[in-house]
Amino acid sequence: MYKEMAASENIPQFCKSRYENNFGDVMIVGGGISGIQAALDLGAAGFKVYFIEKSPTIGGKMAHLDKTFPTNDCSMCIESPKFVECKRHPNIELLTYAQVESVMGEAGDFTVKVAKKARYVDESKCTGCTVCVEYCPVMYPDPFNQHISRNKAIHIYFSQAIPLVTYIDESCLYLKEGKCRICEGVCKTNAIDFAQTPETIEIHVGAIILAPGIEAFDPRYREEYHYGEYANVVTALDYERLLCATGPYEGEILRTSDKKHPHNIAWIQCTGSRHQLEGCNSYCSAVCCTYTQKQVILTKDHDADAKCTIFHNDIRSYGKDFERFYQRTEKLPGIRFIRSFTSIVKEDPLTKNITLRYSTNGNGVKEEEFDMVVLSVGLAPPADVKTFADVFGIELTRHGFCVTSPSNPLETTRPGIFASGAFQGPMDIPESVLSASGAASLCGEILSYRRGKLSKPRAYPPERDVSQEEPRIGVYVCHCGANIGRIVNVPETVEYSKTLPNVVHVEENLFICSTEAAAMLAKDIQEKGLNRVVVAACTPRTHEPLFRDTLREAGINPYYYDMANIREHCSWVHSKEKEAATKKAKDIIRMSAARTCHLEPLREFDLPVHKAVIVVGGGISGMISALSMANQRHEVHLIEKEKQLGGLARRLRATLEGLDVRKYLSDLIEKVYRHPLVHVYMDATITEVTGYVGNFVTKIKSDRGVANIKHGAAVVATGADVHRPTEYFFEQDERILTQLDLEENIFSKEERIFDAKNIVMIQCIGSRCEERNYCSRICRSQSVKNALKLKEINPAMNIYIFFRDMRTYGIKEDYYREASDRGVRFIRYDPTDKPVVARGRLEDGRTVLKVTATEHLLGTKIEIDADIIALAAAIIPSARSQEVAKLFKLAIGPDGFYQEAHVKLRPVDFAAEGVYLCGMAHYPKLISESISQAYGAAGRALTLLSNDTVVASGSVCAVNKKMCIGCGACAPACTYGAVQLQETKRGKTASVIPVLCKGCGLCNSKCPTGAIQLKHYTDEEIASQILAGLNHNVA
């Protein structure tokens, strides 16, 4: 029905009339970080989203984590602003504690039945005051804290929960035994409603994104782990809660058995992963190696003398910056990485210490006692995934993940339903985020015709003019759980802040970033007549946008706000000096308050957005991204430096999963050429880029001549190159190939390959070394792929793979096992004892390559006469990346790959606005991963391109004409061309074109008179901070 209506002329009216009637564009199922990203991207791209989550709040597994690797960012701190954003977004309709019951219809016209569980609390009435929680007599193990601590039967899931309302658990006395109802009596807003029953809602959407996420493997499946039996055997997720300030012991790592600090802790890797045993998962969970390293680093932060031992097999540091993270962990004092798994022998009945028995490889078998054992549990699909899949009519793999198209990891087996995040298979946060943006882009492709029809703009109250008022500052000091409160004496800081000039209101809060606190802040602004706000909490780099928005909602200009960073710059860096940290916190607040007095209201600009986009790089990533955006009706200019499209993939023949790359590529290229909105420029170089987000102009020299392209956004997909090895007679002996060469030779049916008796493969050629301190990620899969292919052609062939760590992460572990099973021999080597290749002649006159290496377990030398040697050469950044980086002002990371805006949550964005990233230019990756990221970049670009305007910061420069002497010091400082000198009758005067100004303030520091000032960072504002910082009390 909807489809028919959509095809008719009356869509706008039709949609409008249905707006309140459960009509939406996309439904997202699963409220973890992946679902959140998809919701925000779609909302920003002009679609109305129904966002369904089965638990009482969105947040998913990420909300349970303490920190995230490899930056050790506070997990909740980076995630929770997104909760608030979801909550406030006018295009996102949030339904928590709800589950999908059935899905009817087809792509473009789905009818979904959603069952809302009874929370026994009226969401519209509950204020989140938690009085009911205080009075509730039932304590039960808190699911948020992994059942380690206890909570009440009525409670809020966690402090930053969205929606921030209570729910009643099945442990409720009234629900169980029909008595109590104390909460009902104490609730002032009569929000408790025991009469509530599950409710079924019918919702109509055009597309669905599934992001059910993962659960941690439950070690109870295997009794040898003794989880649940030995008190001090915990899972990594338990440990995550123990580390966390909002955890069961407020961030103190304690043993549940005796509440003592464990000092000697062991981690056992691969718990439940890479196991063929019943109840376990045979795949690699992809994240455990690195999260364990993170936990070790954090443990050492908590307790510098802690001894940490990691029992592991391969260390799979295959991701961006993981190798350095591993090295950092390894170098810490008191850390042992032991390459042996271990048997949990026993629990001491008195001390409850745990004894492990393990092989030391060379030093005998050892039994050792630990205070605590952390099981590095893997990721598993949710327990109810089977039912889930049935409801949506999609297929699952034998591992219980979503079956996706071999050419598109985001497509499920049912058209119009897409998979996002770890539903595709084990993956970490950034991959979940980028796949969410990708799934959003795919929804956009099929629903492009109705974009914007149901969306609503964000509405704010009119702004109150307070510029004539005396400053009335409100100061809010955050405990940040225990992150600040444990070090800084917050009450003392609050008392001090009350004494500061112009400060009229001071308050403390456990989490000022929670919705509840933000609502209180807005209320204070209105009721107490505040006109300036200082939030003393964490870094403005993540939380400033949230609070600015809060000010807007309260009706005052968002620039009347300053953040005093008393966490990253105080409690965390002075965690051993509580007094000094408290003093400094006061200083920081004083500086902020002083600055705040001088703040001015600023106007933000709406810059027009040019609807065309350019894609730099015509490899798989570039083409996918280009097509996805073109399918959403945007003109795309695809720029390729070479004479043909395809990039590095032209040299590939098949993927591990069996995709015919040649065919895939030619189909893709054909699609690109045929698409009326994609313009391809071959042999192209970019000579100049000017402009800014929404309004770039890029000059291109290509086979089409010189062109100046106007575009609103750019996707950079410049790819990567393959390192040319310098070792092992490479390029001196034709029997020594790279894996790419080998693949080509296999497919061109070279006899010397097919007839080879012994093929040796050597991993990590040019990776994981001093020169390139990173893992090239794809080499193992590539070697395993070629080995399997060779074994298929000639099962009698001997194949030896020399490796340092087998990094067949995720589902790729299956192929590693298959190769083992087919007789491929894997031999570990140490970087200090690499395999040696010598050229020699056999008795029968044949020349051979003699490979000599050490068998790591037996300690014996092994010798192989190899007929062919294949080197897994490193993937290196494309030479072009540097040039493009300079043109678009993009950051390059330490390894020469592009640096994304935020490693975890903005994996396809650049810090430079309007430019997006995908493919191997970001980091080495497999084709399927590149495809996912390419859709992700398209999805992110669409959040910009779908809008007619983009908001630019109000923090730009302005000239006080009276003070300008026309000296011209400022203009040359600005290469944006924002500052111009104009002839007036009084001589020359500088002026600023605000839309061009990027707010760096270089002109400001050149101006002799102070005539040109960067708003929000004026001399006055900075001077007040300096003086306050030097203990001068300035108003």
């Binding site: 040898e224 045993l277 798994f341 083992s820």
Partner: protein, 428 residues
């Protein structure tokens, strides 16, 4: 292993051979993770461990593998297999290595016992008539000395008996007084049972010898006799680990058709206690508070009945000595360490290695501070006694039947060989 291994003609003949017979052994899958070593008390003996062994197999070092004496030190206790993430059947591999030895070169002690069994129906090689005579003689003595058992019936080959019970040959041959307690128990519950005369012995050294033919022959003869001559509906294995495994696994492995059900006496003890048929009590130990621990035979627990057997075993012992007086070793149950006496180790001749192997078990027992180890297995029994003496321990090793009779006040004076002075006259 100092000369380089040449891998030019990698052909893992031995591995393929094993995989032919045991396709699920997963030998190629080793991740070299080392889990096996962590649970293996035989690790490092003779400079070998399960991981190394597999590695050698996979690198085609067949000669070294086949020669490895370690195969006789490993007891095939399956703790490695139990935890191995890749489910690599190392015990089967070891069995294969043993089988690869020329029969005559295999350890004499095991070989002799195996041959005896094939020839005479028991490992000690005593003629069946002697067995029948001993049984009757001992039974007669009991009937005469203790009027409570004046009707004690012990039969051999009684057709139509419900239960057929096998009998480890150690008792009739070397310590006939140990026969009585079990009979008294069976008598107390009124069991309808008999000994078979064919392959009557509750042992099977061909299993240790890795002699499939012998193992199969013994079992087939036994099964044929029971099904065709006696018609018992239930075959009960005596308090012995490996013979339980030999029948349990043999029936499956050789696909031997049989009409009877098969169980262990330990399960029956538990059932009878639960049903109230066995009136055991713990009164005798109420004041004494003598501490007991329990050894889980690998063949009875980890390798076959798992937690079910471990739980029955504990239930029985708790009912005999009082729950508070049972101090479990850590670890125990399916995770228990092998004592080192299994797999024919007591007869294989590697005494030094066997005792080093047993050290873990010895330490486990001593840690419990128990005075008695209750063990329903002859090989465990032998090994625990030996290491106790060797390492200077002060515990006693007893079968369940001894303590069970003691608790029911039925233990004769001559049936107390394995009790310490503290229990030597209780209930007399």
């Amino acid at each position: 292993m100092t000369s380089p291994i040449e891998l030019n003609d990698l052909y893992c003949e031995f591995k393929n051979q094993i995989l032919e017979t045991v396709p699920a052994a997963n030998l190629d899958m080793c991740l070299t993770c080392g889990t096996c070593i962590g649970g293996c008390p035989a690790s490092e003996q003779l400079n070998m461990d399960p991981r190394k062994l597999i590695r050698m197999v996979l690198l085609g070092m067949d000669e070294e593998v086949k020669k490895s004496e370690w195969a006789w030190v490993c007891t095939m206790c399956a703790r490695c297999y139990w935890e191995c993430p890749m489910k690599i059947d190392i015990p089967k591999l070891v069995y294969g290595i043993r089988a690869g030895w020329p029969r005559e070169e295999r350890p004499k002690g095991i070989l002799g016992s195996c041959d005896n069994h094939i020839r005479a129906g028991n490992a000690m090689g005593v003629p069946t008539e002697d067995f029948v005579w001993t049984v009757e003689d001992v039974a007669k003595e009991i009937r005469e000395t203790d009027h409570r058992f004046k009707d004690l019936m012990v039969t051999v080959d009684r057709k139509g008996a419900k239960i057929a019970l096998n009998q480890n040959s150690r008792e009739p041959v070397t310590e006939p007084d140990e026969l009585g307690p079990l009979w008294k128990i069976l008598n107390a519950v009124g069991a309808d049972w008999t000994y078979p005369s064919v392959m009557w012995a509750g042992e099977n050294y061909c299993l240790f010898l890795a002699d499939d033919e012998g193992w199969r022959y013994i079992l087939e003869e036994f099964v044929y006799h029971i099904d065709n001559h006696l018609g018992c509906e239930l075959v009960v294995n005596t308090e012995c680990g490996h013979s339980f495994f030999a029948i349990y696994e043999g029936l499956r492995k050789f696909k031997i058709p049989h009409k009877f059900e098969f169980t262990t006496i330990v399960s029956l003890y538990a059932r009878w206690i639960r049903e109230g048929k066995l009136k055991v009590n713990t009164n005798w130990n109420q004041d004494l508070k003598i501490k007991f621990t329990v050894q889980d035979p690998c063949n009875l627990v980890r390798k076959t009945l798992r937690e079910e057997a471990a739980e029955d075993l504990r239930f029985v012992v708790r009912s005999l000595v009082g729950a508070e007086n049972l101090i479990d070793m850590v670890p125990h149950g399916t995770n228990n360490y092998c004592c080192g006496g299994g797999g024919g180790a007591l007869q294989a001749g590697f005494s030094e290695q066997r005792r080093t192997y047993g050290r873990i078990k010895y330490d486990q027992i001593m840690k419990t501070e128990a005075k008695y180890v209750v063990v329903p297995c002859h090989n465990c029994h032998g090994q625990l006694e030996d290491i106790c003496k060797y390492y200077g321990g002060d515990y006693h090793v007893v079968h369940i039947w001894t303590i069970m009779c003691l608790s029911m006040d039925m233990l004769g004076e001559n049936e107390r060989t394995y009790l310490g002075p503290d229990l030597s006259d209780i209930g007399l």
